[in-house]
């Protein structure tokens, strides 16, 4: 073994060679993305805790199972066709591995039978980069999951998760979140850390789904007024969001391209320069501004205060590669405040039952995020053609992705609805999904027997068993 060590020391003489530097850089990149992947798992721990805490006690386990099984279906589907969509559709149409388009080399690595999808001594990056994108896909699907809890069938959710996580979002990423995407090349569309391409599109998709899914039984009175279903465990929800926030640092970092042997060592997804520190700074100021805006807009409501933090970060993500910290702070506060109002408007005026506020927090904030870039960060060369970011380019992206997200969610859920496969039967919803699908009750008997409380529009608290069966009978009639 000592001979081996000596040989290694002698070989250090060559360490400064360009070839060694490139190899070191590649392996550093491989490690970097690996750790972002590990960190991004916390996003899913967070989503699970967040949604489970928001759910009523009778649906806690079903809600958590939905989040866990997202991973079971999005992972293979993203491998079998999602990565192909990203790598072979950037010009706007599918291209083949032998195309003359400059993205064809990436397309070659995107097909599931590429030999880059296994141990390959010529490429350390393809698989780990795929995994980073896979974690983005889980995140995108999980955004939709919160909006539909407590009444959607598990299987319907899983089919929709495959569609959103492995097809819809990654198509928009190909078009607007890649150096070769047509929105970037032609219009300078700039969404560096995925305000719209992940969050906005998922919010639009979720809106399409809940239109067909309908509200939970009893969410609205017969006069159309709103009842409040109290989260069964608000602590779990708050902890889930804090875990999610931690995972967001991994998400942010994974959105960068690392090239340690080339100054400045980092680039955004469009291969324009930035630094890891600058985006970490913006995410942190995004939380600060978001919490502040959420707190004041909701008059101190804990749920909307912490959701405001998330909305704030999403609102500054699109320009996080170039924003000044103060601009990020102020934009995050504004985004969070607007999101709180949008969330209340969606719930009360539109009568859309989104249990976790995902459509507002991810959808509205996501679209605002790219709008802010057009207003406050125009003039930054974006993409391989170096087209300046502009309000026109941002609006072009919004006009493309809003129908892509909404119509695909609406259409797919409409088909499931027509087939009678979208929503659980009324009896199951009343008794709770846990008792029908899993176990009688997740909690100890003395807790399980307690009636759950809901808040009527006039603020009075009543036992749910006094209200919901009557609302269900009304629905049957």
């Amino acid at each position: 073994m000592i001979n081996f060590v000596i040989a290694q020391v002698e070989s250090l003489e060559d360490a400064a060679s360009a070839e060694s530097q490139v190899l070191d850089s590649v392996i550093l990149g491989e490690q970097f993305y690996f750790f972002t992947v590990a960190l991004m798992w916390l996003i899913h721990v967070g989503f699970m805790s967040y949604e489970t805490g928001v759910a009523r006690r009778k649906n806690a386990l079903a809600t958590a199972m939905k989040n866990i099984l997202t991973i079971a279906v999005v992972t293979p589907s993203f491998y079998y066709f999602g990565w192909w969509i990203y790598n072979c559709n950037q010009p706007g149409l599918p291209i083949g591995p032998n195309s003359t388009d400059f993205t064809s080399a990436a397309c070659q690595g995107g097909i599931p039978w590429s030999d880059l999808f296994g141990p390959n001594l010529t490429n350390n990056i393809n698989l780990i980069f795929f995994l980073a994108f896979l974690l983005f896909s889980w995140t995108t699907a999980s955004i939709m999951s919160g909006a539909v809890i407590e009444r959607i069938r598990l299987s319907a959710y899983l089919l929709l998760a495959v569609m959103l996580g492995s097809a819809v979002w990654i198509l928009d990423a190909a078009w607007g979140w890649s150096a070769g995407g047509w929105l970037t090349l032609r219009f300078g569309f700039h969404d560096a850390i995925a305000s719209l391409v992940v969050h906005g599109i998922a919010g639009a998709f979720a809106l399409g789904v809940v239109f067909n899914l309908g509200p939970r039984i009893g969410k609205y009175t017969r006069e159309g007024l709103t009842r409040v279903f109290k989260p069964h465990n608000l602590h779990m929800t708050l902890m889930g969001l804090m875990l999610l926030f931690t995972g967001f640092y991994g998400f942010y970092a994974a959105c960068l391209v690392i090239a340690s042997t080339t100054f400045p060592g980092w680039a955004n997804i469009y291969l324009s320069p930035t630094t890891l520190g600058s985006i970490a700074m913006i995410i942190t100021f995004g939380f600060a501004g978001g919490f502040t805006g959420g707190y004041f807009a909701s008059r101190g409501d804990p749920f909307w205060t912490i959701s405001g933090g998330l909305a704030g970060v999403i609102g500054v993500s699109a320009g996080a590669d170039v924003y000044a910290p103060t601009l990020g702070y102020l934009l995050a506060a504004a985004t969070a405040a607007l999101t709180v109002w949008a969330g209340q408007w969606i719930e009360v005026r539109m009568r859309v039952d989104d249990a976790v506020g995902a459509i507002a927090v991810h959808g509205v904030a996501g679209f605002l995020g790219v709008l802010w870039v057009g207003v406050f960060a125009a003039g930054y060369p974006t993409g391989l053609n170096n087209v300046d970011s502009s309000i026109g380019g941002q609006l072009m992206g919004m006009a493309t992705f809003l129908p892509l997200g909404f119509l695909s969610g609406w259409g797919a859920s409409l088909v499931l609805k027509k087939l009678g496969l979208l929503r659980v039967p009324l009896e199951v919803e009343l008794d709770g999904l846990d008792v029908a699908e899993y176990v009688p009750d997740l909690y100890l008997p003395e807790i399980a027997k307690a009636d759950e409380i809901l808040v009527e529009p006039d603020g009075t608290e009543v036992g749910a068993s006094q209200v919901l069966p009557g609302e269900a009978r009304e629905l049957v009639r």
């Binding site: 690595g109 039978w113 030999d115 001594l121 299987s155 039967p425 199951v428 008792v435 036992g463």
Partner: protein, 104 residues
């Protein structure tokens, strides 16, 4: 002992370098000599050579990939069917008064 399924690509050689490694354990660390003609070497893969990444897969790997796709689709369909039967049975039992509570 012969392998049950030898799925390594042909470009992976065997035994090369092991003799040197026994003599001086420094040589051929991780037995790279066995892989020097091979870039991608996953099971059933095409075994592409250096500088020729992304070459067409062999039949066995196409079959393996399509098996995976078929399993994924079958699992999704099974999820739908299994849950549908389960929920309908529960609702039917509820109507008969045989199970389920009324806790909202």
């Amino acid at each position: 002992m012969p392998a049950v399924i030898d799925s390594s690509p042909e470009c992976v050689t065997n035994e090369v370098g092991t003799e040197d490694a026994r003599v001086e354990d420094s040589a051929d660390f991780v037995l790279q000599a066995n892989y020097e003609d091979c870039a991608g070497f996953m099971t059933f893969g095409p075994g592409s050579v250096y500088g020729d990444e992304g070459t067409a897969a062999e039949t066995a790997y196409y079959i393996l990939t399509w098996l995976g796709i078929a399993f994924m689709v079958a699992a999704l369909i099974a999820w739908v069917v299994f849950e549908h039967r389960h929920l309908i049975a529960y609702a039917a039992g509820h109507i008969r008064g045989g199970r389920g509570g009324t806790s909202a």
